[in-house]
């Protein structure tokens, strides 16, 4: 059965801190891994990672994938209160599938 585990489930930090969110997965027909940020309703796309070891960056956020060890991390540096959200990771399945398998998410709270 396909499985995605995110850790920690929740995290409270202060503005300016750096955080690392973890995502491990066991899925059949792995194609790529996506990270989303969910504040109220719609998950908003952050990164799509297809190749191992290549870091993707967007401002203070960065992410990397390890396809051998089956995990990904999302780093956020110099956190701001606006980073407070649930961060979801989701392997995208290949083969004949093409759907996302989500973890439960990590709830990040950034205190002023």
């Amino acid at each position: 059965e396909d499985k995605v585990v995110q850790s920690p489930l929740s995290l409270v930090v202060h503005e300016g801190d750096t955080v690392t969110l973890n995502c491990s997965y066991e899925v059949t027909n792995f194609r790529s891994l996506l990270w989303y940020k969910q504040e109220k309703k719609a998950p908003t796309f952050l990164f799509m990672l297809t190749s191992s070891g290549i870091e993707k960056k967007s401002g203070r956020l960065s992410s990397i994938l390890d396809k051998k060890e089956l995990f990904s991390i999302l780093n956020i540096t110099a956190t701001q209160t606006g980073d407070s959200a649930i961060y979801l990771c989701a392997p995208l399945l290949g083969g004949s599938q093409g759907n996302l398998i989500f973890g439960k998410g990590t709830k990040l709270s950034v205190k002023p």
Binding site: V4, K41, A42, F45, I101, F102
Partner: protein, 117 residues
């Protein structure tokens, strides 16, 4: 450029009733996927539509059905509602024909919050 839109925003139904949720994909997108997100959980895949056909389906009962129209918009129907169907229903669209779904990110709409009493 409008993103993915969904209607209605909120819906309250009673057990046994039927509901229809609607989704318009992002402009140019032709594949629509539906997800159910229960409180405190990540979204769970319901099914995916491409070229007006259900291309694949997650582990949901037949009470959940859908449709895709020629303009790529989609509907999700749930019959014989149960209390456990209360959730946020998310629609996601992606670009690129038969194979694009494997290469392109899925963009989500704001969801429909369904409450079953």
């Amino acid at each position: 450029d409008a993103g993915v839109t969904q209607s209605p925003t909120h819906l309250i139904k009673t057990r046994g009733q039927q509901v229809t949720l609607r989704c318009s994909p992002k402009s140019g997108h032709d594949t629509v996927s539906w997800y159910q997100q229960a409180l405190g959980q990540g979204p769970q895949f319901i099914f995916q539509y491409y070229e007006e056909e259900e291309r694949q389906r997650g582990n949901f009962p037949d009470r959940f059905s859908g449709h895709q129209f020629p303009n790529y918009s989609s509907e999700l129907n749930v019959n014989a509602l149960l209390l456990g169907d209360s959730a946020l229903y998310l629609c996601a669209s992606s670009l690129g024909g038969a194979w694009g779904v494997f290469y392109n990110e899925q963009f989500f709409g704001p969801g429909t919050r369904l409450t079953v009493l």
